[in-house]
Amino acid sequence: MARYLLRRTAFLLGSLLLAASLLFVLLRLLPGDPSNALLPMGATPEQIAAARRQTGSDLTLPEQYAAWLGGLVRLDLGTSYVSRLPVGGEIAARLAVTVPLTLLAFVLAVVVAVPVGFLTARRAERWYGPLLSGFAQLGIAVPVFWIGMLLVTVFALRLRLLPAGGFPREDWAEPGRALAALVLPVVAIALVMSASLIRYVRSATLEVLGSDHMRTARALGESFAGAMWRHGLRNAAAPVISILGIELATTFLGAVVVESVFALPGLGALLVEGIAEHDYPVIQGVLAVSTLAVLVIGFAADIAQRLVDPRLRTRLGRP
């Protein structure tokens, strides 16, 4: 396990370097010089030279690459062309919206999906079986922004129970108002996420319920609950944990779009603004931070998977 941890950490660092390089290459393919975003129409050659110095596009590509990696290591993400503020601070401010939004939606989705997924597999023949599968089928097919639109229409525009969008200017100084602003977006994301999670929990449960070792355990006289606890859960947990890691990343993706439906000033909104204004440091920064988050989540999911499924620790899987 210790050797695996070392290997997996090296792997994480390699992935980070690769992701940072990929980001750099992709963004250098963008048409036009980044300094154009800073210049007025009909700028003088002096102004152009100054802008190119400021954005670093007068440097050679390897120099720019070194500067980009060096900045990442020092956690310095540069300065926004538009707001002239450090990108790191801007992102931190936006995370105050996106992180609670993502985590609340994720927790709500898991709390709903695990028992429901188990029930859809185990109690498919009860009256609520088709109802639950129907919910899972529908939820996985509904675009999260449309759910958001419908929720706003019903609960904000018609019933006027909750705000239709926006976030209090003073952030979390008034937690009640901030939470109220997050209720509809969280529900929108969680509805969609839990539906896709239910499918995975259901298929993992079905696989375990139909497995030989469960039948053997039952034949040897274990109760269903005992067999499930001792043999079933751990077998079902490994694939589910792996999916959870991916789903957490998907939640962030949902957050990007949902922030746009509800006019929330989160990370996704920052990215959309950055793309619209060709604000390269902002685009780079947001993508770097979200990529880092997703990679670390994947790292954690892999370690957790090893802990619950000893079969993955053997090297039998290789020809």
Partner: protein
């Protein structure tokens, strides 16, 4: 089996809309001569939008765009992904680690972010969306294929087949592929649905194909402002999205249940 048939019917509805749109449309998609926000009925079966364009016309064009986005992405992502996943599953430890790291790095870019980048690099078009969604999907498919291949290779019957003299290509064809394809097929169908949804999200954010050939996502975005006065425009494209994605998923489930050796 009932689900499979229902799925075929749902997908068939969207296919029919798309097919008819190739030869006939109720109105020219760019025609803004109609009255604005007309309710359904009369000359405009589903009414018009805030620019006086016929909603049914746009829904039909949207069906074509959604199917193209889904099929294109799955083709690109499936071919690239299964090939890479098989290679990683069989590779030596060093190469497997390198491939897995590359996949993790790719997966770490959520599809939508990758798509937004590609759109910024190229242009807001259906091609950009398919390229980005397909690439992102290929990493997910490759990771799944790799895990599935490894799980199969860890089984005793593989050792048995190898010990009794089967070559690796023969083991792939006889044992690995038959064991992983039901899961893969179900996943690819899910990915088709996700690709359709991802394209709709891009379009909703204004990064999809430009009007007049707009996708369902853009129709929804444009209808959001008038949702209380003209609800049909804000509901119909969403329903069609759900119909298509549910249909594809039901077909996938049906296929999984029909697969040999897999009973519920």
């Amino acid at each position: 089996m009932k689900g499979f048939v229902a799925g075929c019917v749902l997908v068939g509805v969207v296919l029919a809309l798309a097919a008819v749109s190739l030869v006939w449309l109720p109105y020219d998609p760019a025609d803004t001569s109609g009255a604005r926000l007309v309710p359904p009925g009369g000359a405009h079966l589903l009414g018009t939008d805030k620019l006086g364009r016929d909603l049914l016309t746009h829904l039909m064009i949207g069906a074509r765009i959604a199917l193209t986005a889904g099929a294109g992405s799955v083709l690109l992502g499936g071919v690239l992904g299964v090939a890479a996943g098989l290679a990683a599953g069989f590779a030596t430890r060093w190469l497997d680690d390198a491939l897995a790291a590359a996949l993790d790095a790719l997966i770490a870019f959520p599809t939508l972010l990758l798509a937004m980048l590609v759109v910024a690099v190229r242009e807001a078009s259906l091609g950009s969306a398919v390229l980005a969604i397909g690439l992102a999907m290929s990493a997910v498919v490759a990771r799944l294929t790799r895990i599935l291949v490894k799980r199969v290779l860890a089984q005793d019957y593989i050792t048995a087949a190898r010990t009794s003299g089967s070559s690796w290509p023969r083991v792939i064809v006889e044992h690995v592929l038959p064991n992983i394809w039901p899961t893969l097929l179900v996943n690819l169908a899910l990915q088709f649905g996700l690709a359709v949804l991802a394209e709709a999200s891009l379009s909703y954010l204004g990064l999809g194909p430009p009007p007049p050939n707009a996708s369902w996502g853009r129709l929804l975005h444009e209808a959001q402002a008038t949702v209380l006065t003209a609800p049909v425009g804000a509901i119909a494209p969403g329903i069609l999205l759900v119909v298509l994605v549910v249909g594809v998923n039901l077909v996938a489930d049906g296929l999984r249940d029909l697969a040999p050796g897999r009973s519920r």
